[in-house]
Symmetry: C2
Amino acid sequence: MTRPWTFPIALDPRTGALVSQISRAIAGDIRRGRLQPGASLPGSRTLAATLGVHRNTVLAAYRELEAEGWIETGSRSTRVAADLPSAPVRGVASRRGTAFPLEPFAPPPNSPLPPKGTISLGGGFPDGRLVPTDLLARALRRALKAKVAPLDYGDPQGDLRFRTALGVMLGEMRGLAVEPSEIVVTAGSQQALDLIGRALIRPGDVVAVEDPGYPRAWATLRAAGAKLAPLPVDGEGLVVEALEILLDQSPIRALYTTPHHQYPTMATLSAPRRMRLLDLARKHRFAVIEDDYDFEFHYEGRPVLPLASSDTAGCVIYVGTLSKVLAPGLRLGFLAAPSAFTETITAHRSVTDYMGNQAFERAVAELMEDGLLQRHVRKMRRVYEERRAVLVEEVGKRLGTRLAFDLPTGGMSLWAKAEGLSLPRWAERCRKEEVLFHWGAAFDFHRRPIPFLRLGFAALNPTELREAVRRMAAALP
Amino acid sequence: MTRPWTFPIALDPRTGALVSQISRAIAGDIRRGRLQPGASLPGSRTLAATLGVHRNTVLAAYRELEAEGWIETGSRSTRVAADLPSAPVRGVASRRGTAFPLEPFAPPPNSPLPPKGTISLGGGFPDGRLVPTDLLARALRRALKAKVAPLDYGDPQGDLRFRTALGVMLGEMRGLAVEPSEIVVTAGSQQALDLIGRALIRPGDVVAVEDPGYPRAWATLRAAGAKLAPLPVDGEGLVVEALEILLDQSPIRALYTTPHHQYPTMATLSAPRRMRLLDLARKHRFAVIEDDYDFEFHYEGRPVLPLASSDTAGCVIYVGTLSKVLAPGLRLGFLAAPSAFTETITAHRSVTDYMGNQAFERAVAELMEDGLLQRHVRKMRRVYEERRAVLVEEVGKRLGTRLAFDLPTGGMSLWAKAEGLSLPRWAERCRKEEVLFHWGAAFDFHRRPIPFLRLGFAALNPTELREAVRRMAAALP
């Protein structure tokens, strides 16, 4: 039992004299389950002071409750009886349902945590064990102790110091020239999508998406009222010709795309398609929502800059996140766009959750200013590149005849095609072998069981990766 | 200049041979403002490695750029020229507007930060200087270093340990019997309202609100599509008879109310009105959104429990926050309701910002389990009670003939009626005397300049409060 807050009870004048009011209130709380059998009651002096009554009044009420069997009075303490005279009826807690009508809402289910012992190749997350929590805790401490109160209300657009650091990062690393005023900090890239949906989409607006693609983004866009139009993807990323055909049929409000490493196939949008896509956006006046979730993790060939870096017309809303470079639990994402748009997004944010966590924003800004985040990213890139090599080697050795894949030039997972075997059956057998991966239906717009699977390598060390592939091989049907 | 991330540039095959491609890309970045005059360029070896080209190719490109006046090559470093051959044209950053159409959105403006030297009685916030940041920083450090990774993806409903601690607090302190499954953690009470709006309200649904009331809640409910119906307030809180008249005219989806300390008048909803309100909600099947933003700060008389504690039918959605007991910058709020509702809200949250900041949730859970938050609340209650006394005394002494008010039994501000003087004029003169308060029009549904003002006392120490009232008196018209 923690130290009690106080012990307020609600007296109801309709239950009679003061003694009765007190005893009925306590009996009611016991029956409703607020006071559990064995729980301590406050001493009579304390309760008398809380209620502003004479101590004798409380003692009389306690005697009444004891006579009825609700409480037991010992030499030192008064407790709720272990055996109650009637079964408790629960209050609020007893009601699963509401008295008012409620509309169901079912987004895609969250992946449940894998059972203990199961190795998960799902997700494509960073390795939580390698997050520099010491650096972060120290920076947070400094942010909390700073003179500029980090726990007062602040700027719904995001802390200026953090936006400035993000602007420097986007310029130096990703070829984007953006001012802090052109950035809005969000609670992960998910909130960026949610706010974009609120600002852009009216019920029935068509938004084009990639198929296979990212179901969580689909759910957020659908919640904003969008009618989604799936477009195919090939080895060069989004098939822009299919977008042209769609545009011949109906105007679209926006396109949601992952050009750098297409989610989930990891294909990089080719240069001619980039040019064509931006031309179409300018001509047809739709917004390009560019989700660049893992820019920094690119291992081969020349870096390919974001679409936003070639956008001179103001078509692109660029969405990024620190979930991959640092950790998803920070809930730090952002969007960059022309300032008319960031002002609108900030207005929307001010009526949703008002603002983000300034202390975390300032702590991470400090890590960026000191070059510590950059160093962490460089280190992680080496670690993940090594893990990619381990996974590719193991899959080649043990599953080479069953899985066909291109070496991913970047990102945190491998996209492979299953050859001549039933993926649903294999996945089920893998579950028994305690290894887990996401496959086909999880990424397909129509939830068809397409013969592809995705193996995330970033969160597992080489030993775990080797064991995971060994189990997958053992589970082959 | 911070340590650079890397130096990616986008080569465009249409600009000719490799040397040209490199020089045109860098010249383009200088013209777009991504590279500023004086900025360092990477050494030729480094850039050659980044681009996967021979060093001589980079050297040739640098010679070309130097000949054109874009860069200056010193003995040790290569820099962007201080005087550029042509004015930079900005890229993304130059575009205020978007190529796609954009709908304006104007919520109530945020209160700007008061100018330095101005004392603000606005807000009714806690005193940020008294937040136990040391305790919080230590608890955060422990949360970040814990084995249960606090920075991985977690539960969109909120961390179980924090929900458990909230359940204990609500039971011991506020007379509510709620299970952790009946609580959803939110980013402040504002996000609780936003999620309730998403789950409950369809465009055109009527939501009754109190007038005067809380404009930020109105804006959030309006953004969800609600048609707001203002109801009057008197010394016993919401005038429930007016709600009955409204219900005769049209069904309502919900009522938003602040029964404990009505915002902004501080009136406490009387017992008969509470009973009547819950009866109406049950009969007419509307939701009661009970915003209990400062329950713990009550100084006189018996504690009055929340409406939710008498709700056996499942009518009440109870909204709370730690913004007042700890600090608004934590962004920790919650709602408690029957589990069918918390499940729906959790589903909505999973497509908005997915989840909150687990590290903060666990850190504050630890403070609650150890009784440290409770101790802080008890301390703050004494501090704020003293500040209330100082403000009341000073106002009585210096402004007694101009302001009429009831002693607030709780809360963090004083609601007073201005007698025989123009509030707009006084407020303007106060601005020049460097003292600020919120008044009439800021709380009125129709933004009429009603003759009331609100003086927040919690965030100012006695010296500041005395000086504030002195300035207000000096500014009397």
